[in-house]
Amino acid sequence: MTLEQLRDEYRTERIGLRWLAEVRSVARSVTSSYSPEIYADGLSWQSALEDLVQEVVTERLLREGQAAYLIDVAATYDDFRRLLARQIRLTLARQRRRTIVDQLLSRSRRLLGSDPFILVEAPTAAWTLPGTQRELRAPTPRELRQACDAVRVFPRVIGRGYERASTVYRTKDLRALLEVVVRDLPTPVRLKDLDAIFCGLLTPLLPSDLDPGAPPPGGAPAFLSPEDDYRVESTVNELLSTLSDDQSALLRAKLNGVSDSDIAANLGLSRPTAAKRKTEVMRVLSERMSDLPQDLAARVVAELGVRLSAGTTS
């Protein structure tokens, strides 16, 4: 097979039998390093390969136009196969993320069924908090983005690389996350909105997807002695009582990865002014944490992020 033959086929019929043969060949090669337990519903790849091929061709190459992308940027036949392999890995990663997000949605639905959440029909099932007035409409992309940013700092359970669907969030963290989302969005929260937020929070490619042979990331979290734990807790409390509301809001935004430009826009400030205020917050942090070793300082910042996002500052 040559790249020119594949280009010719694309010009005349887009995806024909030559392309199909390439997809099958590359998929066979790619899946050899992916566990069928995780990525093929426990079936052997021999049985599941054709489903994967159809998914790649139908969704990625045709519906999302990636076949045209391959033709546009592949400079050689090897390039074509490499790009095609990338499409197949993305498809596998997406399927896995879908499974993980579906499980999170299922757990969320259960948690939303109890206090403090209130079910409203608007017109599909949606949730809000007691005593809040909500606009009966869908959230805008900007509002969803802000909700995403508000909960990005919530701690995740580090996957061990071999689960089909990692837990991602412990139940208490998931409940707190849902509270923040329902509190912050100016509309009732639908499962569809949570779906978008979870997809935004979860990276489409896990490191193990990029390099299936690599050891899983993370590992056991560093142990904190009771004394260290106390130092972290007291530093966090001290900082939270020191920072003004504006400073807390700014720090929360920074810890959630919001850019200076967006902070300035959200606070109605010029960027230099926002940067100056941020510098002041950093100075406060620097002073209060100057005695802490770096690993404890990192813990302080992590805990600050969660407490500020969840609104539990006392």
Partner: protein
């Protein structure tokens, strides 16, 4: 094998899929390079003597034989709030593309292969504003939800791949070191970020008058024609090396707590490596090759000379 392939009928599911996803009218996909215009999305090909690579880029400006472009990635699943997604109905391109503010530079006109789409003037102006750190309302709905690089290890990997690919295109533009300048002085005295005017930056530089340090301004956004001809070392830019570092440097300067040796060419500090990619017309361009400590997995946290540093990587 070939004749078997040619004689076999298409499977029914594939015929249905082809019908369900008709080819998009991709607009004017001409390959006449003289027709290249600002706002076009073109495929550019490297020509650096290595096996060629092709990448799509948005044309921001044209200048003689060179074109100023921003890399457009098809991997839109990575798009964060600091990136712009270009949907197919906006460009006429059959697939979505993503513009990352930090990844832009100059290539030769002759590297252009063929056009794949066009961005209209209004959106192009908004994108340029975005690259210059504005937040135009027209682009609000086109920003992604994904993690920024300070939050996600694999996003960092993705950015590294993108930068490496783009450097190959840029190197191919022939931006070889200008011999007349000899080895460029790389020491950095001032990093202009967070809105300091050039005058303010110069004042700040004067406050740190050191004969062994070259005046340096880190600019956001695309280089401007007015930069050319100046003895200006341009860190290109904070949005590539990350605001975390840029702001740390600024903070360190303001508080007089740190030497800025961390930005010296080729040095490694806080796992940041900065290396020159080109030296042209008195302007030195740099790209960060790698950075970040993977041990702080979830939080945008770093330390520079004892100063806690955090924040989004892009302006």
């Amino acid at each position: 094998v070939t004749s078997h392939i040619e004689q076999a009928p298409l499977p029914e599911w594939l015929s249905s899929a082809l019908t369900a996803s008709p080819p998009s009218s991709s607009g004017d996909r001409t390959s006449d390079v003289t027709d290249l215009q600002v706002g076009d999305l073109w495929v550019f090909e490297s020509c650096d003597g290595q096996p060629p690579i092709r990448r799509i880029a948005l044309v921001l400006d044209t200048d003689g034989a060179q074109v100023h472009v921003a890399l457009a990635s098809a991997e839109v699943a990575w798009a964060s709030a600091n990136d712009i997604i270009l949907p197919t109905d906006l460009t006429g391109c059959p697939y979505e593309l993503m513009i990352q503010p930090g990844v832009h530079g100059r290539v030769w006109w002759r590297q252009a292969s063929h056009r794949v789409g066009i961005v209209n003037d209004d959106h192009l102006d908004a994108i340029l504003d975005f690259l210059w750190d504005e937040r135009p309302t027209e682009l609000e709905d086109l920003r992604g939800l994904g993690p920024t690089s300070s939050q996600d290890e694999s996003r960092i990997e993705f950015e590294r791949h993108e930068l490496e690919a783009f450097r190959r295109l840029e190197v191919a533009a022939g931006n070889e070191p200008d011999e007349s300048y000899g080895t460029p002085l790389i020491d950095v005295s001032i990093l202009r970020s967070s809105g300091l005017t050039e005058e303010e930056a110069r004042d700040l530089a004067a406050a740190f008058d050191r004969p062994d340090i070259t005046f340096c301004v880190g600019l956001q956004g695309p280089p401007r024609p007015s930069d050319n001809g100046h003895r200006l070392v341009q860190l290109f830019g904070p949005d590539i090396i990350g605001w975390r570092l840029a702001e740390a440097a600024e903070h360190a300067l303001l508080s007089k707590t740190a030497e800025l040796h961390v930005l010296t060419s080729g040095s490694t500090a806080e796992n940041v490596v900065i290396a020159p990619t080109s030296f042209m017309g008195g302007v030195v361009y740099y790209h960060a090759l790698g950075r970040r400590d993977s041990s702080t997995d979830d939080f945008p946290l770093g330390f520079l000379d004892g100063i806690p540093v955090m924040g989004g990587d892009r302006g």
